[in-house]
Symmetry: C2
Subunit: 433 residues, 2 copies
C-alpha cells in the first residue's frame, strides 16, 4: 500500500514533511576501501588496475587489452539488430539536436569607461564517462553522457565500463560508437575512477568524470573531485505526476511504475485534486503490478515510498511540487503550461497527456541525467555546460585605467592589500607624467 495523504486532513503537514525527509538510500560506508583502491592505482598504475579487475570482475587483462580494440567493437556492434540500431540512431540524433542548442555564446564588448570586457567558453580537454556493468548498463545513458561532451567539443572522450567475466552489452558499444566515443576501457569500480583521474601507463588522465555508478564509484568520484571535475552524485530516481480527473488511470499508473521499476528505492508520487481518481490510479497500479516483469522491485518501491496525495486544487499541487522539487514532473492537466509556470523547482517537466516520462528517458532530446533528492532546488540536469568552462576577459586602455583605477586602489588600501594598489598606482603615475 502506498501512502495516502489528503491536504484537508489534520495530520497532513506532518505526514507530508515525513514523506519529504524520508530516507530512501542506505549508502554503505565504503570510503576506506575506496581510499585504499585509489592509493593502489596511483602507486602501481596498470598493475593495480589489472589486479583489481581480476579480483572484482574475474577478468584477466593486460595493458594491451584494457581497452576494446576497433575490431572487438565492430564485432560487438554487428550483434545489434537493425531495429535496436535504428532506435539508438533516432535517439542519438534527437539528443544531439537538443544539446546543440545549449551551446552558450562568447561575448565581448567595450563599456562606457573604455574597458574591453567579455568571456569565452571552451571545452575540457578530456572527459571520462562511467558506464555501470551488468543490469544497470544502459545504452541510453551512454548517449546522454557522451553526446553533450562531443557537442561541447571535448577533445578526448573515453568510457570506463566493467565487463564482469568478460560480458559486455553490445548496445553499450553501439551507443558509444554512435556518440563518437574514442576509447572504451574494460574496467570499473573505484579503480576505474582512479585510473581516469590520475592516469596509468595505458590510460591517460581526464579532466572531467561523469556518469552513474554504485557506492564504490560514487565514493571514488567524491574523493577525486578537485583533481578532476565530476557531475552530480545521483540518488534513486523520482517522479511526481500532477493529474486531474480527466486522465486514463492506467496511463498514470504506468508512468508511476516506470520510475518504481528502476529501483526499490525509487519514489513515485501522484498529486491529484480528485480523490476518486487517486483511488482509481492506485487500483490500476495494483493491476499492472500483477503482470509486470520487475514487479518485485516496482512493488517494493510503490509500497514503501509511493504516495497518492489529494489536494484541494492545482495551486496547492504546485506548492507541494515546489517543496518536493522532483527530478521528473509530469503535468497531466487541461492547461499544463499554466501549471508549469507555477512549478518552479523541477529537473525536467513533461507537459500534457501525450508526454510520458519514458519519452524523456530515451528519445525526447533533453538529458535524462537529472537532479535527485530535492536538489532541483539548486542544480540542473547534465548539459553541454558540464563539459565547458568559461574564461573571463578584461583589457584596459590607459584611459579606462585612469577612469576606474583610482577606485581599485582605494579598495585595495581599505583591504590592506598594498601591492594590489601599487600595481595600479605605478601605471597611473606613468600616465600622469
Amino acid at each position: 500500500m502506498p501512502h495516502f495523504l489528503n491536504s484537508c486532513d489534520d495530520g497532513f503537514e506532518a505526514a507530508f514533511a515525513a514523506l519529504l525527509t524520508m530516507k530512501r538510500e542506505d549508502a554503505p560506508d565504503v570510503d576506506a576501501a575506496v581510499a585504499a583502491i585509489i592509493a593502489e592505482v596511483r602507486a602501481r598504475g596498470d598493475d593495480a588496475v589489472i589486479e583489481l579487475t581480476r579480483r572484482f570482475d574475474r577478468l584477466e587483462l593486460t595493458p594491451a587489452t584494457i581497452a576494446f580494440s576497433e575490431a572487438e567493437i565492430a564485432a560487438e556492434c554487428a550483434k545489434v539488430g537493425a531495429e535496436d540500431r535504428a532506435a539508438l540512431e533516432l535517439a542519438a540524433g534527437r539528443i544531439r539536436a537538443y544539446h546543440e542548442r545549449q551551446m552558450p555564446a562568447d561575448a565581448r564588448w567595450t563599456d562606457a569607461a573604455g574597458a574591453e570586457l567579455g568571456w569565452r567558453w571552451g571545452p575540457v580537454s578530456a572527459a571520462g564517462l562511467y558506464v555501470p556493468g551488468g543490469l544497470a548498463s544502459y545504452p541510453s545513458s551512454v548517449l546522454m553522457n557522451a553526446i553533450p561532451a562531443r557537442v561541447a567539443g571535448v577533445g578526448r572522450l573515453v568510457i570506463a565500463c566493467p565487463t564482469p567475466g568478460g560480458a559486455v552489452n553490445p548496445l553499450v558499444l553501439m551507443a558509444a560508437r554512435l556518440a563518437g566515443v574514442d576509447t572504451v576501457y574494460r574496467i570499473g569500480g573505484a579503480q576505474a575512477i582512479a585510473a581516469l583521474a590520475y592516469g596509468t601507463g595505458t590510460i591517460a588522465p581526464v579532466d572531467k568524470i561523469t556518469g552513474p555508478g554504485n557506492a564504490y564509484v560514487a565514493a571514488a568520484k567524491r574523493r577525486v573531485f578537485g583533481r578532476v571535475g565530476i557531475d552530480m552524485i545521483a540518488g534513486p530516481s523520482e517522479i511526481l505526476v500532477i493529474a486531474d480527473r480527466d486522465n486514463d488511470p492506467d496511463w498514470i499508473a504506468l508512468d508511476l511504475l516506470s520510475q518504481a521499476e528502476h529501483d526499490e528505492s525509487a519514489q513515485s508520487i501522484l498529486v491529484t485534486d480528485d480523490a476518486d481518481f487517486g483511488r482509481a490510479v492506485a487500483a490500476a497500479v495494483d493491476r499492472r503490478l500483477e503482470t509486470l516483469e520487475r514487479r518485485a522491485i516496482a512493488g517494493a518501491s510503490w509500497r514503501d515510498y509511493g504516495a497518492v496525495i489529494v489536494v484541494r486544487d492545482l495551486a496547492e499541487a504546485a506548492a507541494l511540487s515546489n517543496r518536493i522539487a522532483p527530478e521528473h514532473l509530469e503535468l497531466c492537466v487541461a492547461d499544463p503550461e499554466a501549471l508549469a509556470a507555477e512549478t518552479v523547482h523541477a529537473g525536467a517537466i513533461f507537459l500534457g497527456h501525450w508526454t510520458p516520462e519514458a519519452i524523456g528517458d530515451y528519445v525526447g532530446g533533453p538529458n535524462h541525467v537529472l537532479p535527485t533528492a530535492r536538489s532541483a532546488r539548486f542544480s540542473s540536469g547534465l548539459s553541454v555546460m558540464d563539459f565547458l568552462k568559461r574564461t573571463t576577459l578584461a583589457k584596459m586602455t590607459p584611459q579606462a585605467l585612469a577612469a576606474i583605477g583610482p577606485a581599485a586602489e582605494r579598495l585595495a588600501t581599505s583591504e590592506s592589500l598594498q601591492a594590489h594598489g601599487l600595481s595600479v598606482r605605478a601605471r597611473l603615475d606613468r600616465l600622469n607624467r
Copy 2:
C-alpha cells in the same frame, strides 16, 4: 629566492612537473570537529549557535541579536568615508553591469517531429554568503558573491559573517547594503554553515551557500553539499604572468606581489622569453619586498612558490600556461589577443600592459571568485549561473508520440524496463484504435 627554470635546460621537464604538483596547502583535518558542530546545530538550533559563538567568537548573542538590525547596519555604514563609499559604488555598478550580461536565455521550439522542446532558467529561492571575519573580511568579496545572486533573481539573500568580540568591518556592511543583501547574521565557522543549510529557530535554511572561509568553513561546506548547493572550495590564489621584454620590470613585479601578499601559500609565476627581463623582474620584486607592508607574507610566498620560467618563444609560454591552468593569467605582450587565443585553460585573462590583475579583484566587472589549483581545466569562476538552475521542458502531441514513441518503446525493451515501454505503448494503442 624563487624557482628559476629555463626550458632549454636538461632538467626542465622534471622541474616544471615538480612546480605543477607542488603541495601548497596543508589543510588541517577538522572533519570530525565539524561533523560534531553540524550535529549540534541540527539538534539544538539557535541554542547551539549561540553557545558556539560564545566559545569561538567570545560574543554573547540572543535569538534577537543573531542578525544585525537595520539601525545597527545604518550606524556602521555611517562610519564609511565618502571616498570608500564611492569606490564601492563604482565597483558594485560595474560588477552588476557585467553579470547582467551573463543571464542565460530560456528557449522553446517545435521540431520536425512536432515535439515541443525547450528549457527554462530560474533562480534558487534563497542563498547564503559566507564572509570571513578578521583580516580576510573583504568587502570586495561581498560584492562579488552577492551581486550575481541578486542579478540571478534569488528571492532571499543572507550573509553569515563572524564578528569576533563584536568587531565588524563597516565596509562589509556597506557592501552588503549596496549589493541588496536582506539579512546579515553575526555568526561564523562550521556553525554558520550548518545554520544556513539546516535552519534554526531564527535562521531560515537556504538552498545555496557560497563564499570563502577557513578550514572549518570549507569542511562544513563539503559536508552539507547535497543538502544545499555550494560553490567551489577555493585554494590559495595564483597568478601567471606571460611577459616579453617590452615591459617595465617594476609593473610586473608588483603584479606578481599582488598575489603573493594574499597568503604565504599563494603562487606567482612569471613566464618570459627573455632571461635578462626575468632577472630584472626578480630584482624588482626584491626591491619592492623591502618596503611592502605585508613583506613577511609576500616574501615567503615568493621564496617558496614563486617562479621565473624562461622559454624559447610565446608558443612555448602558451603550452606551459595550459598545463598550469592558472586562476589569473596576465598577458603583457605585444599581441595579447593572439596569445589569449592559445591559452585555453585559465579562470580569468588580463590582456595587455594596462590591465593589472588587481583591476579584476575590484572594479573590472568580471568575478574575482575563480578556479584555483589547476581546476580551470574543468571549472569556471562564480557567475549568475551559480544562482540559477535549468528545468528542461518537453511536450509531445499525439503525432509526435506516434513518430518517436516506438523507438522509445524499443530501447525500453532492450533495457528490460517494461513499464517504461508500456507507458508509451498504452498511448500509442489509443491512437491506433
